[in-house]
């Protein structure tokens, strides 16, 4: 029951803005709703565990529950940040109450569609929900109807829709393979998995390529990532965080579901090798773009390509250790990157530019945000004691344990390049002298709460995984690996 409530809460939060005129009330109710959703997810995990199949439509095994928890956490942080953000925009006359209403409503349709992706059992309906996430978020990318925002939104809708059509071909081929080879007319994941051993191997191999390229486009895997830097940099700040931290992950989740079936049908290394290839490519390509980036939000967007690459490298290495590292990284990247997007968004607003060459002395101009930005940079770069270090180390140890020295070497090389670039870009931004005319910044309470929540996760998960989360992760890994 509690898991259904999450959908209901999101639906109510999407309707509420139409019942009031005040953006403050909308923001407060939004926070309350997402706090309730977060607590529900937490209670479900810690007390009840994964409920499994709920009815004909919904299923929440450990893997979906893990993604629900990740989404709920980032949603709560984005809801907290949104309140101050919308108030700021309204104060400057950039967002009327009507637009704030549209914003909060679409925000919740977007989060609802992401929850649905992780909850539906039917892989055809999952496809529909993934497409729904694109359509719900398109207006949030092009919210401020500037030339750049509209260009980004157009590319986002068109490129992701083409990707998703390719994924649909993959879904159909899987369905056909099941229909022809195993006599089942179903797209339910567990039934497909049961019959996976009897599927036509050649057809499944081709179908998985369609799935990987199709959903991979939406997940931001290189070389299909071209929409991502534009959309992430032009979207409203809380939406950039949602896009990067959870939207990409829901598409990755869809790939993982098909990957499990593919592994069962054609044996282990095939799908994993493809994932490893695209993961490594994403890592290498993003490293090159991160080096030369000047726009602070585009820089973070390329980091999303990097981290989705890391996740797929972890999946590609295979085995329980790699899969554990990859899933752990899904959560760690989500909390760290959300924090970075919020900090970067506040900084860009304060300085009136996205160009890092014109942003100087953030630590003095905005001490609270600056400190979190500094920690965020170290965390994102993979330094201990932050959580990303732990998940990257897990993936790397998985690779070494399997004797994948070339993969490990390349992985470390790209991470080192990216860390260097990150320090280079942010040293000036954080430490140099601030412009003289800049007044000190006082962040709203809700914004501070968002930073503290994310920073708390970033640090505590670097020191150790809480027992309930470790157990959930292990159960999710066993769904992935079948061990």
């Amino acid at each position: 029951m509690p898991i259904y409530l999450i959908l209901l809460i999101n639906a109510c939060c999407a309707v509420f803005p139409w019942l009031t005129r005040r953006h403050q009330a909308m923001g407060t109710v939004n926070i309350a709703g997402h706090l309730a959703a977060f607590i529900l997810a937490l209670v479900q995990i810690a007390v009840f565990g994964a409920p499994g199949r709920l009815d004909d439509f919904f299923c929440a095994d450990a893997l979906s529950l893990f993604f629900i928890f990740t989404i709920a956490t980032v949603n709560l942080a984005a809801a907290l940040y949104s309140k101050g953000y919308v108030a700021g925009e309204a104060g400057e006359g950039l967002m009327s109450d009507g637009k704030a209403r549209l914003y909060y409503s679409l925000f919740n349709v977007f989060t609802l569609s992401m929850f649905l992706v992780t909850l539906v059992e039917n892989l055809g309906l999952m496809w529909v929900c993934v497409e729904m996430t694109t359509l719900a978020s398109a207006f949030l990318v092009g919210f401020h109807t500037t030339k750049k925002a509209i260009e980004a939104a157009w590319k986002y809708v068109i490129i992701c829709s083409v990707g998703i059509v390719l994924a649909l071909i993959g879904v159909i081929l899987f369905y056909y393979a099941l229909n022809a080879g195993a006599g089942g007319k179903t797209l339910n994941w567990d039934e497909m998995l049961l019959r996976a051993a009897n599927l036509d191997q050649r057809l499944i191999k081709i179908a998985f390529i369609f799935i990987l390229v199709g959903y991979g486009t939406k997940a931001g895997l290189a070389p299909m990532h071209t929409w991502l830097p534009d959309a992430h940099s032009q979207a409203l700040t809380p939406i950039s965080a949602l896009l990067s931290c959870v939207l990409l992950k829901t598409s990755a989740y869809a790939i993982l579901r098909f990957m499990v079936i593919t592994n069962r049908a054609v044996g282990f290394p095939y799908a994993a090798n493809l994932a490893l290839l695209l993961g490594m490519l994403s890592l290498g390509l993003s490293a090159a773009f991160i080096l030369v980036q000047k726009d602070i939000k585009r820089l973070l967007a390329y980091h999303s390509v990097e981290h989705i690459g890391i996740i797929f490298v972890g999946i590609g290495i295979g085995g329980p250790v790699g899969a554990f590292g990859a899933l752990y990284h899904v959560f760690n990247h989500a909390v760290t990157k959300a924090l970075m997007f919020f900090a970067a968004g506040s900084v860009a607003k304060k300085y009136g530019t996205h160009d890092m060459r014109n942003i100087r002395g953030v630590l003095t101009a905005m001490p609270f945000t600056g400190v979190f930005l500094l920690f965020g940079v170290f965390a994102l770069g993979g330094l201990p004691p932050f959580s990303i270090f732990m998940s990257e180390l897990t993936i790397l140890s998985g690779a070494f344990a399997q004797g994948r020295y070339l993969v490990s070497g390349l992985f470390m090389f790209f991470l080192a390049v990216i860390f260097g670039a990150l320090v280079h870009h942010f040293s000036g931004v954080l430490f140099e002298k601030q412009p003289k005319e800049m007044a000190p910044e006082r962040e709203p309470l809700a914004t501070k709460a968002a930073f503290i929540l994310l920073g708390g996760f970033m640090l505590t998960l670097g020191l150790g995984i809480p027992a309930f989360l470790a157990e959930l992760l292990r159960a999710a890994v066993s769904v992935l690996t079948g061990v």
Binding site: I150, V157, V162
Partner: protein
């Protein structure tokens, strides 16, 4: 025999699309293609006696033959861009390329799904050719509207694929896909208006502000 006539008609529409010079013509061919798809689905429904297939036929008629083309024609009229859709490759060249791909797809179809009957192989190949042609239109026609139509043609190809090789997906999924498609066209249509309003053109090759 009717199924064969409809399939050949679908193949014909694919070439007509590649050879269309104007957006208005492309929309008319899309409508005709969707009508043929509706007939084909009705034929399957009549043969199998499945009620759900009749429902899908009605949905194709309402959404793809009526609502979407009318919506697109309205946008085209308001954009006054019906004459030109930004051809990168001229129509004869486009038809030749689509023909070559059709031949290649037919050749490869056997290696994707082995042991298909002649009819199934033909349907499978035409479906993939429609998907390819949709993609081709998106890449080689520069106006935003042509890209929307390209996407719709790709989806029509996917629909042909699903009904030809697996006799349709579960009903609920089909309905949801239709709904999604309709919302997509509405959303993309709104963005076309916004592009026109801000840039005073709808040429996507000139949307180049975001780089690097």
């Amino acid at each position: 025999m009717w199924a064969h006539i409809l399939t050949v008609g679908l193949l014909f529409t694919v070439f007509l699309m590649a050879g269309s010079k104007r957006i208005g013509a492309l929309i008319r061919v899309f409508r005709f293609q969707s009508l043929l798809l509706a007939f084909l689905t009705a034929l399957f429904a009549w043969r199998s006696g499945e009620r759900e297939l009749w429902a899908i036929t009605v949905m194709i008629l309402v959404i793809k033959v009526w609502l979407i083309p009318v919506h697109l024609e309205k946008i085209t009229a308001e954009m006054r861009s019906g004459e030109n859709m930004g051809l990168v490759l001229n129509p004869p060249m486009s038809v030749i390329i689509v023909t070559v791909f059709g031949w290649l797809i037919f050749g490869f179809s056997d290696s994707v799904i082995g042991g298909m009957s002649g009819d199934a192989r033909l349907n499978f190949s035409i479906s993939f050719l429609a998907i390819f042609t949709g993609f081709f239109l998106m890449v080689f026609r520069l106006k935003a509207l042509a890209q929307i139509i390209g996407l719709l043609v790709m989806e029509n190809g996917v629909f042909m694929l699903v009904s030809s090789i697996s006799g349709g997906m579960p009903f609920i999924v089909e309905i949801a896909v239709f709904f999604d498609l309709f919302v997509l066209v509405v959303v993309a249509g709104i963005f076309v208006y916004r592009i026109k309003g801000l840039f005073t053109h709808i040429d996507v090759s000139r949307l180049t502000r975001l780089k690097g």
